[in-house]
């Protein structure tokens, strides 16, 4: 069987999964107002502490410091921490690296001297550098599917492990913020001038965030007493518009129904939605959830804690969600007070207790793409039904 064997999160809220989960459970947000002279307007964002990242990286890998970009360092440190915490050898020929990123080292386009290795702009090269750092010689896989990349990367991991060539998949999600990305979201008028409010009637747009996050999936015949499995995953397309979500939530609804064919809705502890806090996205997800008859199931979004972390979001939010599932906890949605009347959802404002074994992670992105994953908590008594 293929199980979830380890993970790590590096974000504004800390450098380990535990620190990040604890911070979210305590109601902390990494989002703050930032000013950069090169960017037209101040912006709300959740940024990784560069100094802390550099210091920690140097403690572990002092000889390499000068050759890596901040993005590469964050990805390497995240994979390293996930592997050492779970005691897994990711240099092994049985291990495959999978990278989820939308823009990789895109900030380099903005450097005036242009003295960097031009290959650093290539996403496949970033993946190769990371794998090479761990002396892993297998050709890594790089996925760039906009905001849903992190969920696609996990689906790819399960497919590859089922295929039998590898026993371990190291799935890394990473994107950092730069003038390129921030100005783009500003031009789309998608950013909120205040901390974002997912699913709230007063929501006014998203906040961006930075993260590196890693999940290690592993084939094993001897799973630990309690472990998480990725039961089902689906990717769909609205075939409707390149940036606007479907008004009928066609693709998102299809992804939800695809993953839930054999699962009783009452066994789902919660749905962790994309919940970007843009008017259109959250409305679309509410329609998809309602159409799938899941409107009584608790729904949350982590964007109020981390912002939208792009290619890392699917990995990061899956980690926080499965930690909550193991902790028998439903996390509230930061900054949510009152929902929309038209498509009412069950959105907890306080931490709740649940022992149900399943949770859903859903996302949608530019290019009309949608993805949904179904995770299950397995215990030594067998599965709870």
């Amino acid at each position: 069987m293929i199980i979830w064997a380890g993970d790590n999160i590096i974000s504004a809220l800390g450098l380990t999964s535990e620190a990040n989960y604890k911070a979210v459970k305590a109601g902390t947000s990494g989002i703050a107002l930032h000013n950069a002279t090169s960017i037209a307007e101040p912006f709300q964002a959740s940024l990784i502490n560069r100094e802390q990242l550099d210091d920690t990286f140097n403690q572990h890998f002092h000889s390499h410091t000068n050759t890596y970009t901040t993005l590469e360092k964050a990805a390497i440190l995240s994979a390293h921490t996930a592997a050492t915490t779970a005691n897994i050898d990711i240099s092994s020929p049985d291990a495959l690296f999978i990278l989820s990123t939308t823009k990789g080292n895109i900030h380099l386009l903005d450097t005036p001297d242009q003295t960097y290795d031009p290959r650093k702009l290539h996403l496949w090269h970033t993946a190769q550098l990371i794998a090479k750092h761990f002396n892993n010689t297998n050709e890594p896989i790089t996925i760039s599917n906009a905001c849903i990349s992190g969920l696609c990367a996990q689906i790819t991991a399960i497919r590859e492990l089922s295929d039998g060539r590898y026993t371990t998949a190291v799935v890394i999600g990473i994107d950092l913020l730069s003038r390129f990305i921030i100005s783009g979201f500003q031009s789309l008028k998608a950013l909120s001038p205040k901390p974002c409010q997912p699913f709230d009637d007063n929501r006014s747009g998203l906040n961006l965030g930075e993260a590196a996050a890693t999940i290690i999936y592993r084939k094993t015949t001897q799973p630990p007493n309690t472990h998480i499995t990725l039961v089902n995953g689906s990717i769909t397309n609205d075939a409707n518009h390149i940036s606007g979500p479907s008004r009928t939530a066609e693709g998102s609804y299809a992804a939800l129904t695809n993953i839930l064919q054999q699962t009783n809705h009452n066994n789902i502890a919660f749905i962790n939605a994309h919940g970007t806090a843009t008017p259109y996205n959250d409305r679309m997800e509410a329609i998809a959830i309602t159409r799938a008859k899941l409107n009584n199931t608790p729904v949350n979004s982590l964007k109020g804690n981390f912002g939208h972390t792009l290619g890392a979001a699917g990995i990061l939010e899956s980690i926080i969600s499965t930690h909550a599932l193991t902790d028998n906890t439903i996390l509230p949605t930061h900054n949510f007070t009152r929902g929309e009347n038209e498509y009412p959802l069950n959105i907890p404002t306080k931490t709740q207790h649940s022992t149900e074994p399943y949770c859903i992670k859903m996302m949608s992105g530019f290019g009309g793409c949608n993805a949904a994953l179904l995770f299950k908590k397995n215990t030594h008594n067998g599965t709870i039904h």
Binding site: S187, L188, K189, H241, I242, S243, G244
Partner: protein
């Protein structure tokens, strides 16, 4: 005003890549959005950039675009009374 309308038509064709559209195809009073030119939400955002870049008009709220982009004539009138360059 007519001169500005003509200038705007050429700019819009250029900026929105309306390759097979000529200025004569755009009726001064017909809705810019909807069926006619097949424009979408990204085109509306691009028109907001055009207003700022060419005429120094910054919209505080992108939703204002809905009123301003009702037709070429309304857009031209708005530009004439609000332009800073």
């Amino acid at each position: 005003m007519n001169e500005l309308i003509q200038e705007l038509k050429l700019e819009i064709i250029n900026v929105l890549n309306l390759e097979d559209v000529t200025p004569a195809d755009i009726n001064d009073d017909a809705p810019l959005f909807g069926d006619g030119l097949g424009l979408d939400s990204i085109d509306a955002l691009e028109l907001i950039v055009l207003m700022e870049k060419n005429y120094g008009i910054k919209l505080a709220d992108p939703a204002q675009g809905r009123e301003i982009f009702k037709s070429i004539r309304i857009m031209a009138e708005y530009i004439q009374s609000n332009r800073t360059k």
